[in-house]
């Protein structure tokens, strides 16, 4: 009995080990399929009264160290407003333009179309209404110097407000229009000259101490955007274990093709010199 049992056990062990080795070698390595990489990236913002510009890029592999994907050249892009269809010309590699500034008009719907690797890439957007009732509580914004440990002056925000009865989506774009802008403080950090903030479906916005990085004159644009823009640019799903596919309105592609309309106010940023 003893011998038999040992044999049984030994047999079981051998079977187990054999099976394990099968398992170890059976692991398959996943690779990115070409289909994943083949979708082109589109970037285009249609604003009434400006020329049409569409950029088309390749995606990047995860190990790539380039900032932007390589431009896709030689495409035939067409944009239709429902009545007429125009062909875009390639002004530089991967950038396609239509220079007639009267083509994009309020309330019209535009469709982008082009062929790429035997697929039709398309997208559609409608120009939203211009914002109404845009006003500010002040035309100047004082930014107190930040002093750690010292006496801290209080920051008095400027409030912007507008009408938003229909719960439209808005964003705020701050453009510094100085010829040679001066930074507010020498702190390192985000030093983009222009900035934008998605505001969602709100009807007012307050400036904050950290909103401005530069001194001088700013154009404050209240932009009425489509939901597709808000969705595409506000994706936070890029973190480690919170991975979600970014939203896009490009069929068979990635990126954004959207229209918007803005109203503008001026704001001057100043600080005390100490």
């Amino acid at each position: 009995m003893e011998i038999k049992s040992t044999k049984t056990l030994r047999f079981a062990l051998i079977i187990g080990l054999a099976w394990m080795s099968c398992c170890l070698f059976a692991c398959k390595k996943n690779s990115i399929s070409d289909a994943d990489y083949a979708r082109p990236v589109v970037e285009s913002y249609l604003v009434p009264g400006t020329a049409v510009q569409v950029k088309v890029y390749y995606q990047k592999y995860l190990e790539d160290t380039i900032s932007y994907g390589f431009p896709i050249t030689g495409l035939k892009l067409k944009i239709s407003d429902g009545f007429s269809t125009v062909q875009l010309t390639e002004s530089k590699e991967g950038t396609y333009v239509y220079t007639d500034t009267a083509f994009i008009r309020a309330k019209k719907t535009y469709t982008l179309n082009f062929d790429y690797t035997d697929k039709v890439i398309s997208a559609q957007t409608t120009v939203p209404d211009k914002p109404t009732g845009f006003k500010a509580s002040a035309t100047e914004q004082y930014v107190p110097p930040f002093s750690m440990g010292g006496t801290q002056e209080t920051f008095k925000p400027v409030t912007f407000s507008w009408n938003n009865i229909a719960s439209w989506y808005y964003m705020m774009v701050l453009k510094n229009v100085e010829a040679s802008p001066t930074k507010i403080s020498s702190r390192p950090g985000n030093s983009n000259l222009n900035a934008e903030a998605s505001l969602g479906q709100t009807s007012s916005w307050q400036t904050q101490q950290m909103t401005f990085n530069y001194l001088g004159n700013y154009k404050v644009l209240l932009v009425h955007i489509n939901k597709e823009y808000s969705d595409a640019l506000n994706n936070n799903g890029g973190s480690s274990l919170n991975l979600t596919n970014p939203s896009t309105n490009i069929t068979n592609g990635l990126g954004i093709f959207t229209a918007m309309q803005a109203d503008t106010l001026n704001l001057k940023i100043y600080t005390s010199t100490n």
Partner: protein
């Protein structure tokens, strides 16, 4: 052969010294005139003095006693009998007395005792004067035997011990208080076989006088000095057992846990992971992933109350102190109607009551924690037990802590992608001569139990369990004077505290031999607080401190107040009925706020649950046992009544082969939500089903299998299919960016799923070498519309292979375990792309594979341990020293991959589980 000689020599030494030194503790005396044979005399002494005397009838038959004793001490009487007949006696540490001629007879007797050879007479307390094998059964009216199984040394009742009438198929298991009842026992000369995991099997011979009242059977813990003994009984010495009479049930003996390799603590829940059907590749969760289920689908009961937080230190250790635990049973599926409210499984933990005979103080010290344990009889009727465990920040603690808090913070790219760094900004500060103080983190748990048994019928016990984790990764930075003339500080708080406080008041009563009740009033709270914030303190012009706080604060609270009453009724010898009622009130809140002021999520819900259940245990024909059951639950959040029919059956085809099957419907009303990003904020929190966004989830189990048992081996095979409906998945999406207060969007996704699999277990149950091989082939699939249909569940593991080896040599136990598991699925980024927003700032996005479309590499590791028992000369165990090696060949098992976007480039890094980790544990016991 050499070993045998050595053993004989050792035994000789022991025996002689013991005869000289070992004191028989009994104070009983013998009075009267006796002229009889020695065996009859010994039987008389055993019965009168309530002693356990073991002898070989053949050896003593020839001798006789003729003497008049005048209230003489047993010790003297025995000495006299032995002396006049050329015999000796040896008193074991458990006060068993062996009548021997030569010292080596002790071993022979033990061997014979354990193999239950009929020639040995064991006269056990308070056994009969005469034992006949049941072959000589006299025809009598069937009668009822009831009693209690206890630990002989401590008086602790033993639940789930198996009591079997020899040479018949009649058997029963003891209830939570160790009570059992056998109806229609054919004769009062029957012999009962009693088995309990981790204890020596015992026999109890019935007699006419004793069988009419409650009997008490005291079992002896299995001691390693008995290892030379060939034990032919069932499942007595194993650390883990499967019950072939029950479907999908695993039982563990906490006293044997130290023999298995560990990371730092003897771990109850983690030990189950070595069995088939319970996933072993989750180092970061000591919760049970049973048959493709998640840990929150496993109901964990401690002394009857639900425990919501079952682990310590981010999941690496289970929250139960094994010193305070008597018995753990895990139901892998198809469980009884007595349990409900969870989809997958039940872990029922019974705490110790405390030694009712003498005060014991014991302690453990490992590289992770210190553990003190005290049990004390307060008086004849009550006992007290206290156990306290506290971690200290040794190298092992820090190693695990740093897994979660290492400085891998990566600055967010301008695109607004949240970097996958850990919470807090641990690494960011500290330069410029600032002083940084690092606070400490720890966990502790406390068990206390007071048991009061005023009489044979009633038992009251009050049990308290508290466990807390205080994980602190905060930094306090005092600004040096050259930055701030008037002083100030930045304090970065990153503090997680979570834990449980539970208490239960239990009243169990035996109304009569047929009716038993167990009523429990319990309170259990769970809390998890997360404070991840920065507070900047600056002095204003008046010299007053001004605090500016920002960050996230999360609070999750659950309060569970329950009342339940479980009843057991023996209807006849062939049927038993379990029934009961339960009611509970759960109060759950979850708050997520930002910057002191803005509340992002504030949920609060109170749910009332109530219901009743009934289950029949029928032995219709001798070999078939059927347990139909029904559970009804009313849940006030949905206002509906939920019906859960259950059925399980076992059929003993031959003595060795048992077929088993079970099925049932299960509902779950409380869900623990796991956040997708384990690094951001609290990892999980509990929510109540509300019938809309979080529906009441349900499951159907279908289980079938067989077990085949020989003297030395057990083969157990089970297949299962589990259909899951109304599952919820939760995700939080932060919207909005830098310049405004962001808002949190909550998304609840609903779907269904199924798991299926086959489990194989081959266990060697006897001998010096024991262990098992287990293999599980399984599949867990979820189906959520939002992810486009079927996808592998995150806990899906195709193959799992586990090899557990235990070898005993003298006072040493060596163990080695090897685990192999297919890698878990995960969602991976495939490519990235960068576009500019309207203002011209670049944003980088990742394109993602299908949900759980990729697989991690396979998980495998080898652990080993060696335990040396400190055994006194009288073979009483006083402690042990354990050396444990975790992940011996330092396999880098991948936990998760981390991605971050820096300057529009994607940085991928692998986060691994623990590498090679040694540990030493010292356990000592004082009486």
């Amino acid at each position: 052969m050499k070993r045998t000689i050595l053993l004989l020599i050792l035994t000789n030494l022991f025996s002689f010294s013991v005869i000289a030194q070992q004191k028989l503790k009994t104070k009983a005396v013998i009075d009267g005139f006796y002229t009889t044979s020695v065996d009859k005399m010994l039987d008389t002494i055993a019965v009168q003095c309530k002693l356990r005397i073991i002898y070989d009838p053949d050896m003593v038959r020839q001798y006789s006693v003729t003497n008049h004793f005048f209230n003489e001490k047993v010790k003297d009487v025995l000495a006299d009998i032995c002396k006049s007949n050329g015999l000796r006696y040896w008193v074991e540490s458990d006060q068993s007395i062996y009548i021997i001629r030569w010292p080596e007879d002790v071993n022979r007797l033990k061997r014979m005792t354990n193999s239950k050879q009929e020639v040995v007479r064991i006269v056990a307390n308070p056994g009969p004067a005469k034992i006949e094998p049941s072959s000589a059964v006299k025809k009598q009216m069937p009668f009822t035997v009831s009693g209690r199984v206890i630990d002989h040394a401590t008086g602790e009742s033993l639940p789930s011990a198996i009591v079997k009438v020899r040479y018949s198929s009649m058997s029963t298991s003891t209830n939570a208080d160790g009570y059992f009842t056998l109806l229609n026992v054919p004769s009062d000369t029957c012999v009962l076989d009693v088995n309990y995991i981790g204890y020596q099997p015992d026999v109890y011979a019935l007699s006419q006088s004793k069988s009419r009242k409650d009997i008490v059977i005291g079992l002896f813990t299995s001691v390693k000095s008995l290892n030379e003994v060939e034990i032919k009984d069932k499942r007595s010495e194993n650390v883990m057992s499967t019950d072939k009479r029950r479907v999908s049930v695993l039982q563990i003996s906490p006293s044997k846990l130290e023999e298995l390799p560990n990371i730092g603590e003897k771990d109850i829940l983690r030990s189950f992971q070595l069995m088939p059907g319970i996933s072993a590749s989750n180092e970061s969760s000591s919760g049970a992933y049973v048959r493709g289920g998640t840990p929150d689908q496993n109901l964990v009961l401690f002394d009857g109350f639900t425990v919501y937080q079952v682990d310590h230190l981010y999941g690496f250790f289970s929250a139960f102190n094994s010193n305070a635990v008597k018995d753990v049973t895990l139901y892998k599926g198809g469980f009884s109607a007595k349990y409900g409210g969870r989809l997958s499984s039940v872990t029922d933990i019974v705490g110790k009551e405390g030694n009712s005979k003498e005060t014991t103080l014991a302690g453990d010290l490992s590289l992770l924690s210190a553990n003190v344990f005290l049990e004390k009889p307060l008086n004849d009727k009550s006992t007290l037990l206290l156990a306290y465990r506290h971690s200290y920040q040794g190298p092992l603690y820090n190693k695990i802590f740093n897994k979660f808090n290492s400085s891998t913070t990566v600055a967010s790219g301008p695109g607004g992608n949240r970097a996958g760094g850990p919470p807090g900004m641990g690494g960011g500060f500290g330069g410029g001569g600032a002083t940084v103080t690092v606070p400490s983190s720890s966990f502790y748990d406390l068990n206390a139990k007071y048991t009061y048994a005023p009489d044979d019928k009633n038992r009251f016990s009050w049990s308290i369990y508290q466990g807390n984790d205080n994980l602190d990764n905060s930094r306090d930075i005092t600004l040096p004077s050259f930055i701030s003339s008037s002083g100030g500080s930045i304090s970065n708080t990153d503090k997680t505290t979570y834990g449980n406080l539970g208490s239960s008041l239990k009243w169990s009563r035996r109304w009569n031999t047929k009716l038993y009740s167990n009523t429990l009033l319990s309170y259990s709270t769970y809390h998890s607080d997360r404070d991840n914030s920065n507070t900047i303190t600056i002095k204003d012009a008046n010299g007053d401190d001004q605090n500016v706080s920002n960050g996230t604060f999360e609070k999750n609270n659950l309060k569970d107040f329950s009342l339940k009453s479980d009843w057991e009724l023996q209807l006849s010898g062939k049927s038993k009925m379990l029934f009961g009622a339960f009611a509970s009130r759960q109060n759950v809140s979850y708050k997520n706020s930002q910057n002191d002021t803005s509340m992002l999520i504030n949920q609060h819900a109170i749910a009332l649950t109530g219901g009743a259940y009934a289950e029949l245990e029928l032995n219709l024909i001798e070999r078939l046992q059927i347990k139909p059951g029904l559970r009804e639950t009313y849940y006030d959040q949905t206002g509906k009544l939920y019906t859960e029919p259950r059925l399980s059956a076992t059929y003993t085809l031959t003595d060795r082969l048992t077929l088993k099957a079970s099925t049932g419907k299960f509902y779950q009303f409380t869900n623990r939500v796991i956040k997708e990003d384990i690094l951001a904020g609290s990892r999980d929190f509990w929510v109540l089903s509300n019938g809309s966004t979080i529906p009441v989830s349900s499951a159907n189990h279908y289980i079938a299998g067989f077990s085949y048992e020989t003297d030395r081996f057990l083969i157990d095979v089970e297949g299962y299919y589990k259909k899951l409906d109304n599952l919820s998945e939760y995700s939080q999406r932060q919207t909005g960016r830098r310049m405004d207060v962001s808002s949190l969007e909550e998304h609840f996704y609903n779907g269904s799923g199924y798991t299926r699999g086959v489990e194989f277990l081959l266990q060697k149950t006897q001998g010096k070498y024991t262990g098992w091989v287990s293999y599980t082939l399984s599949k867990a699939v979820n189906n959520f519309d939002v992810y486009g249909g079927d996808f592998p569940a995150s806990q899906d593991t195709r193959h799992e292979f586990k090899l557990v080896n235990l070898y005993r040599y003298g006072n040493w136990t060596f163990s080695a375990t090897w685990i192999f598991a297919t890698g878990k699925p995960y969602t991976a980024p495939l490519t990235s792309y960068t576009i500019n927003d309207y203002a011209g700032n670049s944003h980088t996005f990742l394109t993602i594979s299908d949900k759980n479309g990729e697989r991690m590499p396979a998980y495998h590791r080898l652990d080993a341990a060696a335990t040396y028992d400190l055994i006194k000369i009288d073979s009483r165990k006083t402690g042990s020293i354990g050396f444990s090696l975790f992940n011996i060949y330092n396999r880098s098992n991948l936990w998760y991959k981390q991605y971050s976007v820096v300057n529009n480039q994607v940085i991928t890094s692998n986060v691994n589980y623990l590498g090679f980790t040694p540990n030493i544990t010292l356990s000592l016991k004082w009486k």
